[in-house]
Amino acid sequence: MAQNEIPRAPSRFARARNSDLYYSFTRTPVAIVSAAVVIVLVLAALLAPLIAPHNPFDPGTLNLMNGFTPPGEANAFTGDYFLLGTDDQGRDVFSTMLYGMRISLFVGFSAVMLAMVVGVVLGLLAGYLGGWVESTIMRIADIQLTFPAILVAMLIFGIAKGITPPAYRDQMAIWVLILAIGLSDWVQFARVVRGATLVEKNREYVQAARLVGRAKFSIMIRHILPNVLNPVLVIATISLALAIIAEATLSFLGVGAPPTRPSLGTLIRIGQEFMFSGEWWILLFPAGTLLALALSINLLGDWLRDALNPKLR
């Protein structure tokens, strides 16, 4: 290769490999392990129709005789074998868990997305425009912060349930859950984005953009937004763990995913009933999965926060 050749711009992949974030990742065993756990669980949830030995939503494949088969043993009547046992209706626990995780993750991701979009937009508007827009948005945020998010989510769920006609309640429950958890969690994003925007809007590059006559919204989205995304990413990760736990809690309380389309929380609710009679596997496996998922996402969030914020070290 000639000495005077102009070096090519590094590819996206090379840039990612040389970044501080990647360096920090490879040197934090906790982050690697939690990332591996999250990836395995997400893949298992995504590929549930391929991996799951049974389809828990197809009543035709269920056999009530298979009910309460312990894990790793053949059923006494039918001789069928189930890896993690079956529940009272003869549904394969492993399969319902995979499908349940799909719903938990879907609700968690969508709720965080909703919270993020609402929070970032309102935070940008509040920080950049100031004045009555800012005071209205932040006052609403203050009022909402007076109450714990889970309570707000319950309330939104209750109201939305009242509005939807009874015939559609089960179908709509998932969307109502997303709405409830998402709207209960936007304040975090709005506060952080507003704070960062207040700092950024006085920087030279924003003044320059204003000087050449770019529109307000274009400045907010093209110029300020990319520079306030780091803290948003951290909050989103931690929010994801909280949202998954919130979803599980609501479903467990019976104000979330319906038994016909169970999430991990619904499965734990079902499993709890059989704890007293000794069928521990119906409860243990969904609960363990939920814990592994929430804990590893939390640990990833912790690592991300430290890695993106060198001042904390």
């Binding site: 006052r139 203050d142 714990p148 209750g158 349930k161 009242g162 309380l253 609960a287």
Partner: protein, 328 residues
């Protein structure tokens, strides 16, 4: 200072007005209660009679005004599901929740402050590190799972403690208490631990961080240099300054104990207001939901207000700072 207090009280009232509006809108926009209350074999006359009885034939503004008027007096009408006055139902259920919240709040405070001090002083000790690691898991563990694990260990496996209910209660006036009977006290243990554990880990981590911060300060080093005993440095000099931020956060946490009681009460079928609220959501029982919302917002706003004012009483420096910054 007076200006700050007035502003703070006005803000609290605003929060209450907004939640009041939310509570009222639930009545106006959510479904038709008549459908829920009357069975299949209803006649138009039944519907009209009930509509008039509940005041649902009045215009929106009149209904809102009547709602506010009644709400201030603690009257939220009849439960759609039970057909009894909501305030009666709430009053019946409230002692159970308050007793549970009180005990777990005490547990969280005592345990959290004690363990926080311990882990801060023995920063490098093995047991302190073990406590910190366990607390990290405790933060990630959802409340209802803690409850289930406790039930499994102490009720199902060991058979020591009851897994649901409140045990026998003694009635004193309008208040029912489980403190006076053996079964009542036994029934209280598991729910109180479940509810208090999460707050305890939070308080513990907070106390530890604050304490470590304070222990690094010059005046502590100076106190050590003077030869003051370690115990006295830790508890008389350091702890006092640690407690200022702890009190605020803890005060706010007490509010959330009442909210999180919803989860604990459901796990243990504890007959308090939280369980009532969950059942109200399941059956879309709007008056109960609205009353619970109003009750809990009065509690929250009250606690927030008291904590804010307490801050002034504890830390004299703030009185100067706030008034200077506020320009009053």
């Amino acid at each position: 200072m007076l200006a700050y207090i007035i502003r703070r009280v006005a803000q609290s009232l605003l929060v209450l007005l907004v939640t009041g509006f939310v509570a009222f809108s639930m009545f106006s926009f959510v479904g038709d209660p008549i459908d829920n209350m009357l069975g299949q074999e209803r006649t138009q006359a039944d519907i009209d009679r009930l509509r008039g009885q509940l005041g649902l034939d009045q215009p929106f503004v009149v209904q809102y005004y009547r709602f506010l008027e009644q709400a201030v007096q603690g009257n939220f009408g009849l439960s759609y599901r039970q057909g009894r006055p909501v305030s009666d139902i709430l009053m019946e259920r409230l002692p159970a929740t308050l007793e549970l919240a009180f005990v777990s709040g005490f547990l969280a405070l005592a345990g959290g402050i004690g363990l926080g001090i311990f882990t801060a002083i023995r920063k490098r000790g093995v047991s302190a590190n073990a406590i910190m690691t366990v607390s990290l898991i405790g933060v990630s563990l959802p409340t209802f799972l803690i409850g289930i694990v406790l039930i499994y260990v102490f009720s199902v496996e060991m058979g020591l403690l009851p897994s649901f209910g409140r045990g026998e209660v003694v009635r004193i006036g309008g208040w029912t208490t489980g403190f006076l009977t053996e079964s009542g006290l036994k029934a209280l243990i598991l729910p109180a631990i479940t509810l208090g554990l999460y707050q305890m880990t939070l308080i513990m981590r907070l106390v530890r961080t604050e304490m470590l911060e304070v222990l690094r300060m010059d005046y502590i080093r100076f106190a050590r240099a003077r030869g003051i005993r370690e115990r006295s440095v830790n508890f008389r000099h350091a702890l006092k300054n640690t407690l200022v931020p702890v009190i605020t956060i803890t005060g706010l946490q007490l509010g959330s104990i009442i909210a999180f009681a919803i989860i604990t009460e459901t796990v243990f079928q504890w007959p308090g207001v939280g369980l009532l609220f969950i059942n109200a959501i399941q059956f879309v029982d709007i008056p109960v939901m609205a009353a619970y919302l109003m009750m809990i917002s009065v509690m929250f706003v009250g606690i927030n207000l008291i904590v804010d004012l307490l801050y002034f009483a504890i830390d004299p420096r703030l009185r100067v700072d706030r008034t200077a910054a506020g320009g009053h």
